[in-house]
Symmetry: C2
Subunit: 363 residues, 2 copies
């Protein structure tokens, strides 16, 4: 199924749906996806807005983020430290929300938060550690950024790039998934904060143009070009740092071209998520020849550094070093389609959904 056909199949799913402030709207797992998600995998339900009990708050959703991991949630493989979902459960997803009623001593009405909201327009929460809620300071930046650069995607980009990549000025760098949520942040931090020279890999001429405007000095279009040949031309001296969002053959091509003391950051492997059998890496011993390392990271382990990371990101946005890029789908009814966008490589920047737009005010 080509992308346009697949995505138009989601139109009928959302066509007759809309939300208001008088009820609770939710998206649930209907069927476990096999391969890419289809409209049949999602169920829309409507109910009463719940009342917070003692020690709880009522949260009202403004934005929800979309991430490739969500298909694993729906498949019940319990990825990434979240509870395993069963058919009928509300889908996991982090979002930006406002406290609209509070019976919790630590949270006040009017505060903005971001954390594990799930695909719902309201949520009653005791603000447990499991949900990983963080206050969003009112700093003059849009609330939408809490579903992107000032949220878990931003933490992933920062932790992966600085925490694992050990980047150095002048590093000859390669970045796959360069037009994506994490990629578009990493390319800008690499170029504008550290001073790396970044070759970005993305799919199609539009994305390649985009990444050249967002930190990359050269672009490889994986849909029309041979990655190995282009790397040989663009990186004749090899690679110091490869930030990997795709895995598979692209990772192998970079392993074959490492310089001494190179670093590979394993951030994502979207090319592998729909393979029937895992990709097998034939050349990991290149790490030995070049004194190099390959490091993965699990973003939740970096939560203790949340405040410092958000301070960095906020400062760079205000300095103009980091331009936030979000691909915002309008309307909660379009969440399934927004998720499908990711797998068909449609989004540029962080994929998210505006449930209600920006809040009027915010303390």
């Amino acid at each position: 199924m080509i992308a346009a056909d697949a995505l138009s199949a989601f139109e009928s799913l959302s066509r007759d749906k809309s939300i208001d402030d008088e009820a609770l709207f939710e998206w649930r797992v209907k069927n476990r996806p096999v391969g890419n998600v289809t409209p049949d995998d999602f169920e829309w339900t409507v109910g009463d807005i719940p009342e917070p009990g003692d020690g709880e708050v009522l949260l009202k959703t403004y934005y929800l983020g979309l991430a490739p991991v969500m298909r694993f949630y729906m498949q019940g493989t319990g990825a990434a430290g979240e509870r395993v979902l069963q058919p009928g459960d509300v889908i996991h997803g982090r979002g930006v929300a406002q406290v609209v009623k509070s019976r919790h001593p630590d949270w006040r009405e009017g505060e903005m938060v971001q954390g594990q909201m799930g695909w719902r327009t309201y949520k009653v929460s005791a603000m447990t550690d499991q949900e990983k809620f963080f206050r969003m300071p009112s700093n003059g930046l849009p609330a939408a950024l809490g579903a992107g650069v000032l949220g878990m995607t931003g933490l992933s980009a920062h932790a992966g790039f600085f925490g694992c990549g050990d980047p150095r000025p002048g590093d000859l760098m390669v970045l796959s998934g360069a037009a994506g949520g994490v990629g578009s942040m990493v390319s800008q931090m690499a170029a504008n904060v550290i001073g790396c020279d970044v070759v970005g890999i993305a799919g199609g001429p539009d994305k390649c143009r985009f990444i050249l405007e967002h930190g990359c000095s050269a672009a490889i279009d994986y849909k029309s070009e041979d990655i190995g040949e282009r790397l040989d031309a663009l990186r004749p001296d090899g690679i110091d740092l490869y930030f990997d969002n795709v895995g598979g053959e692209t990772l192998e091509a970079c392993l074959d071209r490492l310089r001494m003391h190179a670093r590979i950051v394993l951030c994502g492997s979207i090319s592998e998520y729909t393979r029937d059998v895992p990709f097998k890496l034939s050349n990991y011993t290149q790490l030995r020849r070049t004194d190099s390392r390959m490091q993965g990271f699990f973003v939740y382990n970096h939560l203790p550094r949340w405040n410092a990371v958000m301070d960095d990101m906020t400062g760079w946005i205000k300095d103009g070093k980091l331009q936030p890029v979000q691909d915002i789908v309008d309307g909660f009814q379009n969440m399934p389609r927004a998720l499908a966008n990711l797998y068909y490589g449609q989004n540029v920047g962080v994929q998210c959904c505006s449930v209600r737009g920006e809040p009027d005010e915010w303390i």
Copy 2:
């Protein structure tokens, strides 16, 4: 061919040979090995002892070390930064030697050195950087250690374990090739210097007994036991640090059992050296799930730290924390057999050859 048959085939190669101080004896590449080395791959030659020219020294060989990489040298694959050998060339190999004549301003007669001697009983050298010669201090320890713990094997063990492994007290560690040259040093440094808890993997009951006496708290016999099952039993909480000397399925089994923030050191891949096609790693993405890293190293990059590493090793030997283990084959004529020992898993500790025993005196 079983090990005993293969190794006895080397007996006839050495039977009629011996060396003296009146001539130069050398072992050369006769045929490029296909798979394991055979007696037909080696040629013994006798010639005149060369005279050093201006700026050169004459070195007299006392010990030579054996390493798995030597088969690659003989195959002409030019591994590890050394010159590519042609049939007829003297085989590369590091050893311990004494300066017996000097016309070089920086080296005095009577000094002991270790470096790239090649498989020969004398060598004239201009002591170039390429040969990587180091002075051996006269510190009361045997000169033989320069072909082991106080030589390149010691640097490999130290650089890999400390430089890449980032070891911490209490680390739940796994070590393959635990009875080998590097392995027997790493197990003792891990247990006695850092305080790691080391499960060692080795082949056969004798080696398993040996490693339990040299730093390992438990042993897995890969020849008779299932490594995965035994790791599940011995490491039910997983692995913090895996020091890999073998690669292949053992590496895969450890990747599947990593704890958070684990480290894998890629030191050697002897299980892969005779495969027709490279081993393919199916589960490298486990590094992501566990915030872990896999790091290779190329020992020559660590040469700048030579003196500091040798000071560490010497101190630990004198403190009793590191017991040097060398498997010394007597007689230069037995060099081919000593090399074959490595591939048949015969050696315990560092495999080396005594050409002339210990020197009488040494400045």
